[in-house]
C-alpha cells in the first residue's frame, strides 16, 4: 500500500504548516499529492437571529483560508508536489467524506486539540464518526506544542499495537508501505489481565511465550520487508498499557487497527482504539478494516 495522496484537514490553529512539513518525509514512501481542506463550520457564518446569512463573513473566512493555502501550496509546488485545495462552508465530517469521494486519498490527516474537555469531546466525535464512515486510514495529530512531540520525526519510531484482528493484517500491509520512512517500529500486544485470572504462574508464562512468538513472527515479516521491528508483550488494561509502552519506547506515533465490530461497539461503550485516539498524547494512525465498506 502506498501513500501517494494525503487529505490534510485543517482549522489552521490546530493543524498548521509545521504538521504538514512533518509529513513530507512520506515523499520517500511515494507521497506526491496534498489536498487541503478547510471547513468553515456553518454556525460561524449561517443564520443568526436578526442578521440572516452572513455572506460577507463567509467570504472573509474563505479568503483568509485561501491566503494560507496559497502560501503552503507555493512551497509544495516548488518541491514538485501536486496540491489541491477545498474551502467550504459546511459541516466537517460530511465535507471530508465528499472530498474523500472526489479525491480518493490514501491517508486523511486531521488535527485534535488537547485543550478543553468540551473541545476534546467535539473533536473526538468527529474522528470517531470519520472512522465509522470511511475506510481511508486516519492520522490524528495532537496539539504538538503542548505535547512536545517532535513533528519532523513523526514516522521514525511508531508503536504498532496489534490485537491479531483482520484489521491488523491490513495495518501491517500499510506499515510495509512506509518502510523507507520508519526508523524502528515497536510492535506490542497487550494481554488483558482478565484473561489471566485464576491462572497460575506457569500458565501466565505460557501465554506470554505464545504471544511473544506470534509477535516475533510478525516482526520477522516486517524485517523481511526492510523495517527494523521489536516485539513487546504487555499485560493489563490495553489503553493504559499501550500508552505506557509508547512512553517507554519514546514512540513518535501509535498505529492502531479499528474494526467494524469496534465501530459498532463504540456507539455504546467506546472502543479501545477510539479511547486511545481520544486520550493519548501521541499522534495516532487509525487503520480501519475494509470489510463491509
Amino acid at each position: 500500500m502506498e501513500i501517494k495522496k494525503i487529505l490534510f484537514v485543517t482549522k489552521f490553529e490546530k493543524l498548521c504548516y509545521n504538521a504538514l512539513t512533518s509529513l513530507l518525509v512520506l515523499r520517500k514512501a511515494s507521497l506526491e499529492h496534498f489536498v487541503f481542506l478547510n471547513v468553515i463550520e456553518k454556525d460561524k457564518v449561517a443564520m443568526k437571529r436578526g442578521v440572516g446569512y452572513l455572506k460577507e463573513e463567509a467570504v472573509k473566512l474563505k479568503e483568509i483560508a485561501n491566503i494560507r493555502f496559497i502560501d503552503w501550496a507555493e512551497n509544495l509546488f516548488e518541491m514538485g508536489m501536486e496540491v489541491g485545495a477545498y474551502i467550504e462552508v459546511s459541516s466537517l465530517v460530511p465535507e471530508i467524506l465528499k472530498v474523500v469521494k472526489q479525491e480518493s486519498p490514501d491517508l486523511i490527516v486531521i488535527g485534535r486539540s488537547s485543550k478543553g474537555t468540551l473541545e476534546q469531546l467535539y473533536a473526538g466525535s468527529d474522528v470517531s464518526e470519520l472512522t465509522r464512515q470511511t475506510d481511508v486510514p486516519i492520522l490524528v495529530f495532537k496539539h504538538l506544542t503542548e505535547d512536545n512531540i517532535v513533528p519532523e520525526k513523526l514516522f521514525d519510531r511508531p508503536l504498532f499495537a496489534t490485537n491479531w484482528s483482520e484489521t491488523n493484517k491490513i495495518a501491517v500491509e500499510y506499515i510495509k508501505g512506509l518502510k523507507n520512512v520508519i526508523g524502528e517500529i515497536h510492535v506490542i500486544h497487550v494481554v488483558k489481565d482478565s484473561a489471566l485470572k485464576s491462572l497460575d504462574t506457569h500458565e501466565v508464562q505460557k501465554i506470554r511465550k505464545s504471544e511473544r512468538k506470534r509477535l516475533e513472527s510478525l516482526c520477522k515479516e516486517l524485517e523481511d520487508a526492510g523495517i527494523n521491528a521489536r516485539a513487546h508483550v504487555y499485560v493489563g488494561d490495553p489503553q493504559k498499557e499501550i500508552e505506557k509502552a509508547a512512553k517507554e519506547y519514546q514512540a513518535s506515533m501509535i498505529i492502531l487497527g479499528s474494526s467494524d465490530k469496534a465501530a459498532i461497539l463504540e456507539r455504546w461503550v467506546g472502543s479501545i482504539s477510539k479511547n486511545i485516539a481520544d486520550n493519548t498524547i501521541f499522534p495516532c494512525l487509525l487503520i480501519r478494516s475494509r470489510k463491509n465498506g
Binding site: 501550496a73 507555493e74 489541491g84 485545495a85
Partner: protein, 131 residues
C-alpha cells in the same frame, strides 16, 4: 468572422463568473472547467483557441495541466494565460522541478496575471494572444 473559444479553468465560481463576463463582453465564446482534470478532458474533446488557467484547484492543479499541455505535441501551441494567486516565481520553480522529474522543458507562460485583475487588463491579455 467566427468567435474564438476560450476555456476558463478555475475552481472559484466567482472568478469564473468574472472571466465569463469579460469574455462575453469582448465577443469570445467562454467554455468552463472546474479543475485541471475536467479542463484537460475538455481540451481533448474540443481544443480551444486559448486557455485561462488557475493554479491551485482540486483534483488537478494548473501547474500539472500547464506542464502537460506544453509537453504534448498536439496541444503545445494552444496559448495559455495564467490567472492565479500563486506567485510567478513559485510557478516557474515548480515547472523546472517537473521538467527534471517528468522530462521535457516547458516555456514560461506568455502572460501571467496575478489575481485580482481588472476586466480591462484581462480583456487586453486575451486580445493580445488571440486577437
Amino acid at each position: 468572422m467566427m468567435s474564438k473559444k476560450v476555456l476558463v479553468v478555475d475552481d472559484d465560481p466567482d472568478v469564473r463568473s468574472f472571466v465569463i463576463t469579460v469574455l462575453d463582453e469582448n465577443q469570445y465564446i467562454p467554455l468552463v472547467a472546474k479543475d485541471g482534470v475536467e479542463g484537460f478532458e475538455m481540451i481533448e474533446k474540443d481544443p480551444p483557441d486559448l486557455v485561462i488557467l488557475d493554479v491551485l484547484m482540486p483534483r488537478g492543479s494548473g501547474i500539472r495541466l500547464y506542464h502537460k499541455l506544453k509537453t504534448t505535441e498536439k496541444y503545445k501551441q494552444i496559448p495559455i494565460i495564467m490567472f492565479t494567486g500563486i506567485a510567478l516565481n513559485s510557478f516557474l520553480k515548480s515547472q523546472k522541478v517537473l521538467d527534471e522529474f517528468k522530462g521535457g522543458e516547458v516555456p514560461e507562460p506568455d502572460i501571467y496575471l496575478e489575481k485580482p485583475a481588472d476586466p480591462e487588463e484581462l480583456a487586453a491579455a486575451v486580445k493580445k494572444k488571440i486577437g
